[in-house]
Amino acid sequence: MDTLTQKAHFWRKASFGATLAELNNPSSPSALLQTWLKDTPSPTVPTLSPINTRDRQQITRLLAQQRREFSKWLIEQMVAAVNPFHEKMVNFWRDHFVVAIAKVRFPLLLIDYEQRLRQHALGDFQELLWQVTTSPAMLVYLDNLQNRRGKINENYSREVMELFTIGRGNYTEQDIQEGARALTGWLLRRDPSQGTATAQFVARRHDPTAKIFLGKRGNFKTADIVEILANHPATPKLLANKLWKTFAYANPEPAVIERLAIAYHKNQRSIGAMMETLFNSPEFYSAKSYRSQLKTPIYFMVGSIRQLGIKAQPERILAALRTMGQIIYNPPTVKGWADDSGWYTAPSLLARFNLAQSMTGKYEDDNGFDFDADRYSRQDLVNLLLDGKLDPTIETAGRNLDTREFAALLLSAPIYQLV
């Protein structure tokens, strides 16, 4: 890779693609990474309209309004992030520790959830797992609230092992049942006037008898399950595999997994240490890693808007995501979105052409996007969006286009759809 390509590649993977200023910034990728790793942004959360009514219809309406405000806030965080790497990590965890708004219902619980993910996105995985496990949103989403002494519900016990930590093949159905008993005891104290809730451990709901969980015996509670899972050797492997797949390429070599797992073990389960190892691995800059995945709809929108400095109304972005089939906090299953290969679909791909045209339009078009075309030369656009490589077909096809149309053409090009 030449220097420009290397830089663009890093920005594409660690962020949502570089802006012109970022591409021209002399700092090296590793220096940038250090800055980002040291910084834990905690953005101001939105103040949602309070729900001070008991009328069911009113509540439904107010919740819908809160949901819109929350979604707009989410989009604004991604588009405006000063530390885009942190934003990408939060996105990663959202897709790892899946919760869906349809079931959680109260956007304030998701704001609480967002704060937990943001605070611990690059920290100790054990702490993150604890925060997630005891969050009202997750307690609702995977039914652990329903799980109490004598009335066992196995849902969270199963998914926390299968999807969040050690993965299939490392536990038995017996472990799920024992784990479920250990995870009993949680209750939500709701504040109806605010629409908030806090999770509380209530001893009489907890099953206090001995459990045997993953070969260990004890009077385990939730914190013990979290500790056992976060320190299980299979957990960093599962995380390493998923992180590498998300930030580099699918099916990484065993040596790569091993390297990331060692970083986890040596640094008190630090996700930040894993990420540092990831971006400093030579494989990250290999040909296999270059343009190695399809951009998800969220990436396509946020990336295009950020790279070209487009002003965009959040509602317009949300509508675009609906069209392409990716609505934040509304994934198809508890497993989250399909990996990038699931986006080779007509809705996800064809919608991009119209969106490319809209995004590069002028504000007076009343289309919710505003692109300042005068700021860019054709060469700027080629550098930004195609790493400086303009193939003859695009050059010929774009000859008679104005700058806006040329930008739209690049945003529509097959190679641009890849990260």
């Binding site: 329903q146 849902n155 069209t323 299953t333 052409f353 759809q417």
Partner: protein
């Protein structure tokens, strides 16, 4: 209206376009082309409250508050859930076969693992090869020969080659004018990067399909006798898709993972399913097309016979599979053995691959062994 949309009507058109498919049959394809419709009830349907063993005292014992007591008796042993009343005429006409106790050795109670096992047609599961994908490849099928309706593209339709059509209500149309021509020119050129080439080919195929859709959009009118709910509308879409004579239609319906508040949720799900299917088969009969379609309804597992502590049921093992069409109607696979549960779960009687095998050999006239790696003795529903 043509293919060009201005921005304002673009978004409204997106909603409608995808739901309308060729109204006129594509006579190029064989008139007697058979279609398999797979309906996947994602999440794990509670078979015991669908086909109720209403005379088994164990049923009431295991489900003190969740047992269905007002089922519709259809045999000395089985009652339909009341929400299935629209399917009863199909049973009476001998067009409904219900196979109980379907499963495989060493059950998985994980949604994803269990779905992989069903959709791959292999008890080991597979990350990237589905049983229908392998069948379609054996017929050298093209992208339009199988159509998926839903959000998450199913493993069942995955194969070595590209994917099949997906119809979701969010399809879009391509841009036009000077820019549109430039985009088409770029997409006319083979891409060196294999993933970029995959993007290119998927775009071209989808555009072609959409051109057909858009034509039909003008001609068809939305008035139909199908129920106005989500499943009803999907069935109306399927009726239109059938006229293009695809080999496979795959529909995923979610929401069946009823850990809590099952009674009400299950009622709604079953009612939408049965009224939708009844409308589809009435429609096909009035057009003389009902011989063309075989419907297979499956779910990744049944649910635990004993109800759980929160008005629902947890993941179980063996469940029921339903076939609708030109079948030998009735019940297969025996009654659920509620008196001899294994670790609280039902033992299996019928291997799900035997059902796939029978469909492959008798309905699709395919080489079962090539798709499933082995042959199974038929259940006898075809």
């Amino acid at each position: 209206m043509g293919i060009m949309y201005n921005r304002r009507n673009f978004l409204t058109a997106v909603g409608a376009t995808a739901l309308l498919v060729a109204v006129e049959p594509l006579f190029a394809r064989a008139n007697n082309q058979r279609t398999l419709l797979v309906v996947e009830l994602a999440g794990g349907n509670d078979s015991l409250n669908t086909f109720i063993p209403y005379r088994d005292p164990n049923y009431l014992r295991l489900r003190p508050s969740l047992a269905i007591k007002d089922g519709i008796p259809v045999s000395p042993e089985v009652a339909f859930h009341p929400a299935l009343k629209d399917l009863k005429p199909l049973l009476d006409q001998g067009k409904l076969a219900i196979i109980q106790n379907v499963g495989y050795p060493n059950f998985s109670q994980s949604h994803f693992r269990a779905k992989d096992i069903w959709q791959s047609g292999s008890p080991q599961g597979s990350p990237d090869s589905g049983w229908l994908g392998r069948y379609l490849e054996s017929t050298k099928a093209q992208a339009v020969d199988a159509i998926f309706l839903g959000d998450e593209y199913p493993l069942a339709l995955m194969g070595k080659s590209d994917r099949y059509l997906q119809l979701s209500p969010r399809l879009a149309s391509q841009t036009s004018g000077r820019l549109g021509q430039a985009i088409q020119a770029v997409y006319g050129q083979r891409q060196a990067n294999p993933l970029a080439e995959q993007v290119r080919r998927r775009v071209l195929e989808s555009q072609q399909a959409i051109a057909t859709l858009t034509r039909d959009l003008k001609r068809s009118n939305a008035a139909s006798s199908y129920p106005q709910n989500r499943v009803g509308q999907q069935m109306a879409t399927i009726s239109r898709i059938l006229r293009t004579r695809p080999q496979v239609i795959y529909l995923t319906i979610g929401g069946w993972d009823t850990h809590t508040n099952q009674a009400r949720r299950h009622q709604v799900l079953l009612e939408q399913l049965s009224t939708g299917l009844a409308a589809l088969y009435n429609d096909l009969r009035s057009q003389g097309l009902e011989q063309q379609l075989l419907t297979l309804i499956q779910t990744e597992f049944g649910r635990r016979p004993a109800q759980n502590g929160s008005g629902g049921t947890d993941h179980g093992t063996a469940g029921a599979v339903v076939l609708i069409g030109n079948v030998r109607g009735g019940f297969y696979g025996g009654m659920p053995a509620l008196d001899s549960l294994v670790n609280g779960n039902l033992p299996m009687q019928v291997d799900y691959r035997a059902i796939y095998g029978e469909i492959l050999s008798k309905w699709l006239k395919a080489d079962t062994k090539a798709v499933l790696d082995q042959s199974f003795s038929p259940v006898g529903f075809l």
